[in-house]
Each structure stands twice: as structure tokens, then as C-alpha cells.
Symmetry: C2
Subunit: 303 residues, 2 copies
């Protein structure tokens, strides 16, 4: 089954202790597409400006991403400049944000894409996410991601959106912020009460917690020693999760555990390279090899 994602497509400028990169392909939807396209045909909705790099468009096309709902208009592409200082990869320091064409963006979903059964609203202004969701016709599964900024300035709208989706992914900080619960099990249960049947709390290097009415589990993260750039790890995770779930006929316990395993493995590749440098080159054998290592690493039995 196909997969539809709406989110930001950006140009990222990044400085870390390992190096500097300019105008990389960035944005929540771009990172999502890298991992999701390993599983399914992905349809992307978003907006870029005239300055968007042709090679980035080509990369998305090469990944089989359908760009019918990607608008290209006059103006500048959304551009983010950030820094990770002193080996602290837990939080990026934002140096500059240029909204560009995001200001005044009116999402228009191609008719052929309005009936896609698996939908993900990657991190974006909840106003945009809401406008996208209103154009979609009864999907099987809708997932949602957000960030601290929107929890702060668009909480009411975000909560109304959360109520309408099936799957909500949040990192631990966002989960605590939204629910005011310090204990993550309590926070996951509180998120469930906000509406979504499936709750995924990402804990970065500490792995992930999944919660639903009849299934709760936690996995560690795949052990990465050399973190180069964690930007987009959560989006890559979400792409793997949704891609894997879109492939599963039923959203049963087995499918949910498997999807979280794949999502974790894919996110681990993301942090090992700048931007999409590593995730854009992934192949099924590379992913499956790491999955085997991951299972060895986290399995209670020696395998």
C-alpha cells in the first residue's frame, strides 16, 4: 500500500565538531522519504523555492518519491542553520531559520493522492498539518509528529490534531512537555488518552517505548559510536515505521514490533552521516545486515 507524507523540504546548513555542510537536503519530509522509500512508493507533499537544488530533486526522484504535490514557487526554500557543539548531540543550537516559501504555503494535495491509505504528517506547523489532513479521504492509518516549538505556540491546534490521528510519535522531552508527566510510562499512557491508539516515544540513544491498549514494549537503540549528525533521526525513524506498517496487511502486535525494530535500525544509519548522506545510499542488504546485529544486541537470548 502506498504511503503519503506531508512535511518540510529544506536546505540545511550545519556545523558539528566533525565538519561543516552547506545547503544539504533537509526537512522532516525529506528524511522521512529516505527510509520510507525502502519499503513503499512514497508520495510527498511540501513546498520549495526556486533556489532549491536540482540534485536534491533528482535524489528524491531516484528514490521513487512521487512529487505531484511538491510545490515549486518563487521565493527562497525553507533554510535552517544549526550547530552541535562540544560533542553534545542531544540538542541542536539553531543559528538561523529562514522560513521563505513556507510563509503563506497552502498545501494542495493531488486528487490521485487523496485516497492513499497510509498518511504521515511529519513535523511542520500544525496549521499546515491540519490543512493537509482535511484533504485526505479516510485513510487506514494516519501518523503525526511534532516538536517543542509547536507544543509551545500551537498547543490547542496540535491537541485537536493529535485527537484525530491513529499514531503519534514524540521524543521523550516532547512527551513530558505535552503530558506534564515525568515518568515516561505515565507520559505514554497520558498521550494515549489524548486520542491516538498507537504511541511511540523516542528516547534517542536510549531507544524507544511503544504503548497501545494491548501492547507495551521497549527496545534499546542500535549502538552507534560515531555520531556525526543526529538531525532528522526522528524523521528517518518515522519513515521506517510507517513504511514497514504500510507493507503489513494487519497492524497486529508482530507488525508493530517489527516496524519499531526497522525504524530503530534506520535511524541508526541517519546519525552516522551528515544530513541524508548515509540514509540516501541505503540498500536492503545493508539494512538487513544491521537488523541481524541489532537483534543479537538486544535479544534476551544469545542468538
Amino acid at each position: 500500500m502506498s504511503l503519503f507524507v506531508s512535511g518540510t523540504v529544506a536546505l540545511d546548513n550545519l556545523k558539528t565538531p566533525s565538519g561543516v555542510r552547506k545547503k544539504m537536503l533537509g526537512g522532516s519530509a525529506s528524511h522521512f522519504c529516505m527510509s520510507a522509500s525502502l519499503f513503499e512508493d512514497v508520495h510527498l507533499a511540501g513546498i520549495v523555492g526556486k533556489d532549491f537544488l536540482a540534485k536534491h530533486l533528482q535524489l528524491l526522484k531516484n528514490k521513487g518519491v512521487n512529487l505531484s504535490s511538491l510545490q515549486r514557487t518563487n521565493g527562497k526554500t525553507f533554510e535552517w542553520s544549526g550547530e552541535y557543539k562540544n560533542g553534545n548531540f542531544n540538542e541542536a543550537l539553531t543559528l538561523k531559520t529562514q522560513l521563505g516559501v513556507l510563509e503563506g504555503y497552502e498545501p494542495k494535495i493531488a486528487d490521485s493522492q487523496k485516497k492513499i491509505s497510509n498518511v504521515f504528517l511529519a513535523n511542520d506547523d500544525p496549521i499546515i498539518q491540519n490543512k493537509v489532513l482535511n484533504q485526505i479521504k479516510k485513510p487506514r492509518l494516519v501518523g503525526l509528529d511534532s516538536m517543542n516549538l509547536w507544543i509551545n505556540i500551537r498547543k490547542k491546534l496540535l491537541l485537536s490534531l493529535i485527537k484525530k490521528v491513529d499514531l503519534f510519535v514524540a521524543n521523550d522531552g516532547e512527551a513530558r512537555m505535552l503530558t506534564k508527566e515525568n515518568n515516561l510510562i505515565k507520559a505514554a499512557k497520558a498521550l494515549r488518552r489524548l486520542g491516538p491508539k498507537l504511541i511511540v516515544v523516542k528516547k534517542g540513544e536510549h531507544g524507544v517505548l511503544f504503548y497501545s491498549d494491548d501492547l507495551m514494549f521497549s527496545f534499546p537503540a542500535y549502538p552507534v559510536e560515531k555520531v556525526l549528525d543526529p538531525t532528522g533521526a526522528g524523521d528517518t525513524f518515522a519513515g521506517g515505521l510507517m513504511g514497514c506498517l504500510a507493507q503489513s496487511k494487519r497492524l497486529n502486535k508482530e507488525a508493530l514490533k517489527q516496524a519499531v525494530l526497522y525504524a530503530s535500525v534506520l535511524a541508526s544509519f541517519n546519525v552516522e552521516g551528515f544530513g541524508v548522506e548515509k540514509t540516501s545510499r541505503l540498500t536492503a542488504p545493508m539494512v538487513n545486515k544491521r537488523m541481524k546485529e541489532f537483534l543479537k544486541f538486544m535479544h534476551p537470548i544469545v542468538c
Copy 2:
């Protein structure tokens, strides 16, 4: 095979959002004994004063703990008063520490205990830990725990001790402090280079990382919603780990994974009650029931 532990035996006064307790049985060795005694005969070395409560001694005896090397002298028992504020259970606020009989304590290990094959040096002044280790004769397995205080003020001696042991357990903060590595995989490898073949990094609510030359794994923590008092969770973990390893004929991969699983389960009981209130009442069926739940929770396959 029997198990020997040296560490503090204390009276703990605690204040948390859930309540207040006075003169509870506390100390690293006491907590260790609660979980270790579920697996093996435990021999305890330490010191208490005349004010130590008879009911605490009786509890240790009821657990089958051999007290031949527990000194009882004039003076006050080591007493710790602490507080967990505002539901933040990550760090205790120490209100008062009364060293009492710990000052001038000269450990004397009973002859019959000097040949015990499994030894654990629970958190204590490295000067004491060193004096104990010097009396022990070629054990099969020696484990060591410490804390930030000793890393700060006894680093040189602590490092010389670490060099002599087989197993070192540290929490994530201590691992980072000792190795100056922020990444926990790198920190675990750096600890391995300090000497011990087996490294266990405890991450509290995020679980545990194990590292040795031919085995690395990570498990999440058993999900606890109602944390009452995390004091001694690390000692309870160590008791389960050493107790389980003492029972295993060989320290192979299977035994190590199993021991870390039991240690995690036992630590989860600790945090659910004040002091040893919950761990002192544990039975094998209670532990095995939770182990089944834990395996369900962390197993990559639905089971």
C-alpha cells in the same frame, strides 16, 4: 557457590513526595543482600554501631546472610538522611551524612570467608574496599561498584582497584565521569581498557548496557510507573547480577545475559518501595512472574 559482599550497612532517613521514613535499613551491602540472597548464601562484611536496630539484624539473618564479618562496635551507625524532591528521582538530595563507626573502620574478614569464590565490593570508600580485597584469596569473580564522590576524591586509588577486578558496574553518569566519554558505548569500551573484563553501565529508567570483548548488549528497564524510592536500586541490581552469576558454572554469554535480566527485574522491585520494604519480601515466584512480563516487554518477537 557462595557469595561475599563488603559494603555499607546504614540507617536511612528519607523524605519523598510519597512519605517519610526514619532509620530504615540502608547501605550498599544491605540492599545487595536482599536480591543476592534469593540466589546464594551471602556473607556480609561491614560495620554497625550499638544503635543499630535489632530488627534489621534479624532481617539479614532471616535472609540467610552470614554476619561473621559484620562488626558491631561502640558508636553510631552510619546514617544518611536524604530527600527526593518534586518527583525527580534521578538524584537524591543529601540532607545529612553521619559517618559514625565508618570512621576508623578496619575490616577483618573471617578466615572461613577469605576463600569465597565470588566477591562483590559494594559502594564504599575505596580505602575500605582495598583493605577487604587484600584479605581475599584468589576468587573466581570480583565485582566492584563505586560512586561520584569517590571518583572525585579517591580517583587514583579507585583506578588501581578497578584494574584488579573482573566486573565493574557503574551508572551512566559515573561511566562518563571516569572516562570523559559522552557516548556510552565509547565510555564502556574505555572502562574495559581500565582493566575489568566485564562492564555493566546502568542507565536507570533507560535500562542497561553490557560490554565485554566478545559480547555487547543492551536491555531496557522493566517499566515501573510508581517509583517510591530509588535508593539502593543499583545495589539491588548488583546483588541480582552477582547472585545469578555465582549460581552459573560458567560465565558464558548465556549466563551473562540471564544475570543482567534478573538484575534488572530485581532493581525494578527496589524502586517500588521505600528502602528494602519491597525487596526484603520477594519470593522466587514473584521474581519469576515479573521476569515473564519483562521478557514479553523487551523481546523483539511477540511472546
